[in-house]
């Protein structure tokens, strides 16, 4: 379980959010939603200490990760897989090597085993046979899937997705959503998804955390969200529904 307690973060004089407190239960899929610029990605980067807060704690299995020394922190980070917004693939190496990267450095696997695991990971995201391609040759959706294969190849306990469907067409977005559901089910992974795409939230999330006005202003299950009368959340959902309809109209 990940416990986030009283987190506060600011960049210079700009407060991003304060007093953010919630839990992430093992095996669940949590969606963190909110408008662009509300600090969702910043919050995500606190969960594996890529960023440090001004105040507060992130406790994983009873340990505050901000107090760990670098060696211990690296072990914690290795329990996380992260799919970044822009996929963050290394463009100087091939698709295969991107996925093999964590295996080469963090395991003692032989070349045959690495090859087998990479091919399995690529297969899981429906990308068989693209290993030899340069990452620059891949489409946006394919890059996301390669990023997902790289994030899962070391079998993490937690998988974090930063805007997994942003910039993708509805059909590819649906494919990514399916993968998120499959990953959670097949790998028994705890998933944390940052998004402002309500269509995705409704498909994948079990619980939802809503960031607005520099704080975590709503937190509950998906059913509770659908029935909520909390005004800012309702407005956010309605605005997203309008956006979904607008996108659908444009795609006809």
């Amino acid at each position: 379980m990940i416990e986030i307690q009283n987190l506060k973060k600011s960049f210079g004089d700009n407060l991003v959010w304060s007093d953010v407190t919630f839990d992430i239960q093992d095996g669940e899929t949590l969606a963190i939603i909110g408008r662009s610029g509300c600090g969702k990605s910043v919050l995500l980067k606190h969960l594996n200490a890529l960023l440090y807060p001004d105040e507060g704690e992130v406790i994983i299995d009873g340990k505050n990760i901000f107090k760990l020394d670098y060696v211990e922190l690296r072990k914690v980070r290795q329990r996380f897989g992260v799919l970044f917004q822009g996929s963050a693939l290394f463009d100087s190496i091939s698709t295969f090597e991107n996925v093999a990267f964590p295996l080469r450095y963090f395991t003692d696997q032989a070349e045959d085993e690495i090859r087998k695991n990479v091919n399995e990971a690529l297969e899981m995201v429906n990308l068989e046979g693209v290993g030899d391609k340069a990452t620059a040759e891949l489409s946006g959706g394919m890059r996301k899937r390669v990023g997902l294969a790289r994030a899962t190849v070391i079998k993490p306990d937690y998988l974090m997705y930063d805007e997994p469907t942003s910039g993708l067409d509805p059909q590819t977005s649906d494919e990514i959503n399916d993968l998120i559901i499959d990953m959670a089910a097949n790998l028994d992974i705890t998933s944390i998804v940052i998004t402002h795409d309500m269509h995705s939230v409704l498909r994948i999330a079990e619980r939802v955390a809503f960031l607005d006005h520099q704080e975590l202003c709503w937190y509950g299950t998906l059913d509770e969200m659908c029935e909520s009368t909390y005004d800012p959340l309702v407005k956010f959902i309605k605005a997203s529904e309008y956006q979904i309809k607008k996108n659908a109209k444009e795609n006809i």
Binding site: K45, N48, L50, Y70, R74, K75, R77, Q78, F80, V82, F84, Q85, G86, A88, L89, F90, D91, F101, P102, Y105, F106, I154
Partner: protein, 245 residues
């Protein structure tokens, strides 16, 4: 205030680099790549820089030493001394600030803004050890070698220019070069190249590693890395001359 903040960040990055320089397994492959990129791939431009610097020095020194009572071999000694003490190290480093410094800064800056550095960190990598240490180490190792290349080809260029322009024969040039040759001059040049290699690779790594703001930010960090490297190379050149000569 911002200058002190930047200086603090730079020192912190260097501290992290020194501390993580023991993680040889992490940066071994990158170090080999950087040795090739900084060293081997820079040889052609350094040869050209050396040849033309030596050639121009010879022709200009001949022009300035018109008096018939000055022995022709003096030209050889002035050109070779100038190359060994100053020009081979400084001019090569200014060229490399553009070639090597700009490349390092752009590479790391692009990795930063496209979240590749975050991806490394999130996998449990020490990104400083993986990216910064091999670049700075390769600079420290290869710049002195490139200084030797620049010196050799500079003297060669000087000899060829002297012969082709008819101002002095090769034997006269070498006689002058040998007469005033002190091993300390070469050592001084090597020390300079070592320091310049450190300045260029560390400043470029720092600027790239902390780049912000997309393509424009990478462009800005690359420009700053190149300009700052050149300024610090010239400043270090002066300080080394004051301290060591």
């Amino acid at each position: 205030m911002n200058v002190f903040k930047q200086l603090g960040k730079y020192c912190l990055l260097l501290y992290q680099a020194v501390r993580s320089s023991t993680e040889f397994k992490t940066y071994k492959n990158n170090l080999i790549n950087e040795l090739v990129k900084i060293g081997y791939e820079s040889i052609p431009i350094i040869m050209l820089t050396g040849i033309f610097t030596g050639a121009v020095m010879t022709i200009q020194t001949t022009y300035q030493l018109e008096a018939s009572f000055i022995p022709k071999s003096t030209i050889g000694s002035i050109v070779s001394e100038s190359l060994l003490i100053e020009l081979a190290a400084v001019i090569s480093s200014l060229v490399l600030a553009g070639k090597v410094g700009a490349r390092i800064s752009t590479e790391l800056g692009t990795m930063r803004v496209s979240e590749q550095i975050d991806a490394l960190e999130s996998m449990g990598f020490n990104s400083v050890s993986f990216l910064v240490v091999p670049r700075v180490l390769a600079g420290l190792l290869m710049f002195p070698i490139l200084y030797i290349v620049a010196s050799v080809f500079g003297i060669g260029g000087g000899i060829v220019a002297g012969v082709l322009s008819g101002s002095l024969p090769a034997a006269e040039f070498m006689k002058g070069a040998r007469e005033f040759f002190y091993p300390w001059d070469v050592l001084f040049g090597l020390i300079k190249a070592f320091v310049f290699g450190y300045i260029i690779t560390s400043v470029a790594s720092f600027k790239g590693y902390y780049a912000t703001g997309g393509a424009e930010g990478v462009g800005t960090s690359t420009t700053q890395a190149t300009v700052l490297s050149c300024i610090f190379v010239l400043l270090a050149d002066f300080l080394l001359a004051v301290i060591l000569l």
